[in-house]
Symmetry: C2
Subunit: 333 residues, 2 copies
């Protein structure tokens, strides 16, 4: 039984995993997949714990995602949110859908009963038959804070804000100077996370934001070391194609940490495991084929192939290519 | 300016107050009304603080009540509740409407920020232009617990349950042996409650459940004494007509405390202020006209007149009759 562990952010991680599962359904039906999801975007809003990445993965794999909009529940409505706005509660620019609120209310109730996030996530996931084990990277509240540059108008000095405020309200329009994970130093990986990395047959980095998604997961003490030391090959899929991001605004995050927005630069940011880094292999798009030789020379196996995933089938083919690049020979069937 | 203070439960108290306001609009536009509402039905459900009586009053006076159903918001939907049920959270028999949930989420968020219930209630009320000052009887959590008799089938021994479970799930079908207000001994009236009673020109007991609505309000230390000692006349409107309840299941509550379900018995339960009781005057329905002479002999002024309130106008006329019986001469205009 092939054991696959994916480190993932929200929408990109969810779609990548859905494609992988579609591929495995015929290629390796007995494979087991664990997704370790970023929790840095999580926040308390209107007294409810919102976990955007966990929920994107849950809804997408559960068949409940709004694929047209790209996030949230399909058939969503926003009646409760309008009430909250009328009462002046929450962020008017951060809409919580009615169906989505059911998830937040259930999770918050369980958290307040004392359940760790990982158990609340397991309870929520049980409804959806995800086909994966979905783990939060940590049960601790590790929220990403963005230090945003002064803009001369709205703010004359740099200021800190929750990642979601910078991302959703400001659309990353003001430059980020730094990303900080609040309380990360004392955080611990959620139960099962280190084991899922250590015991895997392959570890995959989904094409998610290298800074605030994958980077946040790797920032939790112990996780990066587990990736460095796992006997499994570690393969990543570039979230950057031809110098632009596949989705989201990763470029605004990469520049804050001094990394160029390119498939090559992100791979070099992760670094080759041969030299104490995190990856053995890196999948780039055809337009970034020039990077392959550079990466191979640097100890990172690489191939170039189409990386845009418009359909589940295309995404499955990308996942299959990543598994092949990691030299994973399916053991199931 | 006539100052009127009403002790009230939910639906009955809300409708009575709405009628009173309609009457005052022409009779005494400068009158000010304070409603002291029962909080014994309140509960934490799915991590949210639900206050059925406060909300019935707020929605009814705010014009947002579902008058056909009698409670909750008009145009209500139940999408979130269906999600909670799918996750196994909350009580499937206690549906929280989507619009209603906006209120609960806002209130719960404020309570968790440290606001007392009275301030959260003021914030919620501000949206609705109620035309009254709405006060919870107490900021403390004083929940009514029902000791329910064994029924030989479902339960072989008596058991305690939250009032809402007995009322909504069991429809009061199993006899109540006793009502207890959890933590009532250490509870205090909410800010403004005692002043509203002491400074009133008239205190009114709405035609609400004498045990679990008005009784719960009066059970909070200090409130009954304030009613006994206020210089204002205290007038009540019977919630019992011809031996039956106007609405709800007050008979199931009255029998538990050994009070007959009659307009007379409820008045005698409250008692004449002349003899250390709580009321000076008591309005009964025409069918209970026999009680008038008995009440008058016992020191309680009384008249009989139609007490069914189907329309706002009819209810206004009842409120006007109660004010007249209390000998309140409108000072405004």
């Amino acid at each position: 039984m092939t054991k696959i562990t994916i480190l993932a952010g929200g929408v990109g991680g969810a779609r990548f995993t859905r494609g992988l599962l579609a591929h495995l359904r015929t290629a390796d039906p007995s494979a087991s997949v664990t997704v370790v999801a970023n929790t840095g975007d999580d926040l308390w809003l209107a007294g409810l714990r919102v976990c955007p990445d966990l929920d994107s993965i849950m809804y997408t794999l559960g068949g409940a995602n709004d694929d047209e909009r790209g996030w949230g529940r399909k058939g969503e409505s926003e009646r409760v949110s309008a009430e909250l706005t009328a009462y002046g509660v929450g962020w008017p620019w951060f809409t919580l859908g009615d169906l989505d609120l059911g998830t937040h209310i259930a999770r918050s109730a369980w958290l307040r009963e004392g359940l760790p996030l990982s158990e609340a996530t397991a309870r929520l996931s049980a409804r959806w038959n995800l086909g994966v084990t979905l783990l939060p990277a940590t049960d601790d509240e590790v929220e990403t804070i963005v230090t945003v540059a002064a803009d001369g108008e709205e703010a004359s000095v740099a200021e800190d804000m929750h990642f979601e405020e910078w991302w959703v309200r400001l659309h990353a329009s003001r430059p980020a100077l730094a990303f900080t994970q609040r309380n990360v130093a004392t955080s611990r990986p959620a139960p099962g996370v280190l084991e899922a990395i250590a015991d895997a047959d392959v570890v995959m980095l989904a094409p998610s934001n290298p800074v605030v998604s994958i980077g946040t997961v790797l920032g939790i003490p112990g996780i990066a070391d587990a990736v460095r030391s796992t006997p499994a090959p570690v393969v990543g899929v570039s979230p950057i194609i031809g110098g632009g991001v596949v989705r989201g605004m990763a470029d605004a995050c990469l520049s804050a940490i001094g990394v160029e927005t390119s498939a090559l630069a992100v791979a070099e940011h992760y670094g080759s495991r041969r030299d104490g880094g995190l990856i053995d292999a890196w999948l780039v798009d055809e337009v970034d084929a020039d990077a392959v030789a550079v990466l191979e020379a640097g100890g990172i196996r690489s191939i170039a192939r189409p990386l845009w995933f418009n359909s589940v089938e295309e995404t499955g083919a990308i996942a299959a290519a990543a598994l092949a690049l990691a030299d994973v020979r399916h053991s199931g069937g």
